[in-house]
């Protein structure tokens, strides 16, 4: 937490947030853009990490929370804007930080906070015409049962019924007056295509040609799930492109605010389902910050080991799928998945599940490493993984077809990467040496000797090769960690399933395999988080996707998307 004195620069409109457990500054809405510009240009906070809203219904206010960082490292600066609930309008920061684009749209979609001056303020996760803004505290969904868990209908007098049987079509959905479903026209598509560009007829070379709108997805083999790309084409060249998401929007945050703190842990597994251990890590850090609990030494080591193994298997999978996308159909991904399986074996042995590990607890871990698992990890990190990473490198990196497909394509400059709040390998492949493990070390990362993987060209090839570099660095960390790991406890205090958490806010972030994974929590002192927000790297990295693709051929869009490495569970949440 940084304390800065803004009183001379902003005598009015900037006050420190003095609520118990809160930090940062509260900015008057009319001063916001000026403040952000000053922050970026004079104080060096060039990286806007997270934007989200909180509905303080008791105070009749919405609060928009911003987290900004310096890319040279250091702690975060939090600033907030408070507006009345019935007049929820905040100036958009997209001009100062273009990375706010999607996040502001999300806050509009889920909370109904209007960002004036936003160039394209449409719903992002839900569809146009959806009834209401679901993260508002007074909004109830179709199968609404109770505000908080545990539900009363489970014990000791259960009323067993499937939610849909009790309430077949969600009877508490409000339909507009004179609503006729047969004549209903969803408005979204027009707005989407309108935001791309107008149809234009050109006759530059004597031929009358139209610009073309093409949709990829949501069912398309190259989109890594249910993701849609709406593109405006001139011939085969991309003029403009908008990602359309929300096809896997699973209401993570709404459910998260109903769950108890511990119940959220297995749900975080399903965010970025390729790297559940990392998600656990981030969430555990955020909650531990709130309750102020220490983690025993051995548990810290196991956490780091698991997080780094997660990074390795995630990058392997990413490389495999990326090569699938550019047409190296299946062989590289089969090789990559083979190594991944061996890592998953370890996860299964340690946590009980291959993918949904649910292994971290507040103040420690669910259980100690079972006998034999440490040896298995050692076998992998000292022998197999270095060997196989080299093999992967030999197999692909010099391949002429791959190189001609990737080198110099899909460029993202360092300035743009920072501007669009790109994170993780995407940011580092553009030459910005920003890695949270180094910039603001959490857990025990400051004890290990490793380099921040860095590439400078910012093209597709660099985004591919940097993942191999990161695997090598992770192996380096792992080799140190498995040697140094001490004996001892793995949990501070007794594991508890329900606990009171002091009121306040916290932002826990880790360097996940895809970039900065942050959890913003607001506690009101009860057993459930009042606000639970996930800063999802896959989602925010997509902000740079459109600009990266402009001017490329349509086939390269697939390669660019593959090189960003998104996981839909995290993009849509």
């Amino acid at each position: 937490m940084t304390t800065l004195d803004f009183s001379t620069r902003f005598p009015e409109g900037v006050v420190a947030d003095e609520r118990e457990g809160y930090e940062g500054y509260i900015i008057a809405a009319d001063k916001l853009v000026e403040f952000a510009t000053t922050l970026r240009d004079e104080y060096g906070y060039d990286y806007l990490s997270s934007v989200t809203g909180v509905d303080y219904i008791a105070e009749e206010t919405f609060e928009v929370v911003y987290h900004a960082y310096k890319t040279i490292g250091g702690a975060e600066l939090v600033f907030k804007v408070q507006v009345a609930r019935d007049k929820a309008e905040v100036p958009s920061l997209t001009d100062v930080y273009p990375g706010a684009d999607f996040q502001e749209r999300e806050a509009w979609d889920l909370l109904g906070i209007k960002f004036t001056g936003h160039p394209d303020l449409r719903r992002i996760l839900l569809w146009e015409g959806f009834n209401g803004h679901p993260l508002r505290k007074d909004w109830q969904e179709a199968y609404y049962e109770a505000d908080i868990k545990p539900f009363k209908s489970r014990w000791p007098k259960p009323e067993y019924a499937r939610a849909e049987a009790r309430n077949p079509y969600g009877a508490n959905v409000k339909y507009p007056e004179k609503f006729d479903p047969e004549k209903w026209v969803p408005e979204g598509e027009d707005a989407l295509y309108g935001s791309l560009a107008k149809y234009e007829t050109t006759d530059d070379d004597g031929l009358k040609t139209d610009h073309l709108t093409v949709n990829l997805g949501p069912q398309h083999p190259s989109t890594h799930g249910v993701f849609r790309i709406a593109a405006k084409l001139d011939g085969e060249t991309i003029l403009n492109l908008k990602p359309v998401m929300g096809y896997l929007h699973r209401n993570h945050e709404k459910i998260g605010e109903r769950n108890t703190y511990l119940q959220n842990m297995p749900f975080t597994d399903r965010l970025d389902y390729l790297s559940s251990m990392s998600n656990n890590f981030g969430y555990a850090l955020a909650v531990e910050k709130l309750i102020g609990i220490e983690v025993p030494e051995r548990a810290e080591y196991i956490r780091v080991i698991m997080a780094e193994l997660t990074r390795i298997q995630n990058h392997l999978f990413a490389i495999g799928m990326f090569l699938n996308d550019i047409g190296a159909f299946f062989t590289p991904s089969l090789y990559a998945i083979e190594e991944r399986e061996l890592v998953l074996d370890i996860f299964e042995m340690v946590s009980g599940s291959r993918m949904m590990c649910n292994y971290f607890r507040f103040g420690g871990l669910a259980r100690d490493l079972p006998a034999g698992s440490l040896q298995k990890i050692k076998d992998l990190v000292f022998d197999r993984l270095p060997r196989k990473t080299d093999e992967m490198d030999r197999f692909l990196s010099e391949n002429e077809i791959l190189r001609s497909r990737c080198v110099g394509q899909g460029l993202l400059s360092a300035e743009d990467a920072i501007k669009y709040s790109a994170a993780g390998p995407v940011l580092r492949a553009s030459g910005v040496p920003y890695d949270i493990r180094r910039a603001a070390p959490y857990s025990i990362y400051d004890r290990f000797d490793f380099n921040v993987a860095l590439r400078y060209n910012g093209d597709i090839y660099d985004r591919y090769i940097i993942r191999l570099d990161e695997i090598r660095e992770s192996i380096k960390i792992l080799q140190q960690a498995v040697e140094q790991i001490p004996e001892g406890e793995i949990q501070t205090g007794k594991p508890r399933y329900q606990m009171k958490v002091p009121a306040g806010e916290s932002y826990g972030r880790v360097e996940g395999p895809k970039g900065e994974l942050g959890f913003y929590l607001v506690s009101d002192g009860k057993g459930n988080p009042y606000r639970y927000h996930v800063r999802a790297p896959s989602f925010i990295n997509l902000t740079a996707f459109g600009p990266m693709c402009k001017g490329l051929k349509i086939a390269d869009v697939v390669a660019v998307l593959g090189s960003i490495d998104i996981v839909l569970g995290e993009t849509d949440r």
Binding site: R162, E164, H249, N251, E341
Partner: protein, 205 residues
Amino acid sequence: MENQGLNSPGYEIPEEVQGSVAITSIDRIYNWGRRSSVWPMMFGLACCAIEMIATAAGRYDFSRFGMEVMRPSPRQADLMLVSGTVTKKMAPTIVRLYNQMPEPKYVVAMGACASGGGPFKEGYNVVSGVDKLIPVDVYIPGCPPTPQALINGLIKLQEKIDGQSIKSVRWYQKGDLAAIPMPILGPDLIYQEQIPAIKEASKEA
């Protein structure tokens, strides 16, 4: 080998030609042909899709069951493996994909979400199981089902195919096969059968 599965009992085949001749019923050979070449659609929804990919990959390799040809186009697929959470935003697309698949077609609901809504069931954008939209043949519980559990489910599907008869399957009956009506995305997901009730209600209002 496979011939044994194919042979109809009750007919004596001379020993010397047993290796090359099989006497069978049309049902058997038809089912055998279908069960040995179930082409799944390359269609991943969520977490389970990753396990589906792992199942398709080297270690579990469902090509051993004739399922390696994953087709991204529904027109060429026999099996829709619904691997993951069915959201309301995706629901119309799923119904459309199902309608586009040619008969005979099968649906496997992989994992808790596709079977019954799963852990995200209470959410405002989640459909409580894909069987609210399209008919499902096999349900595989698990969150996510491990690759071996998935293969177990696919074997169950093969068993189901084995038990079918040309005379009774849905797609050889008289009359056109009706396409499944597409739900609409309104203020919430609206099923076609809901429309009269909603109209009635809005009239009253």
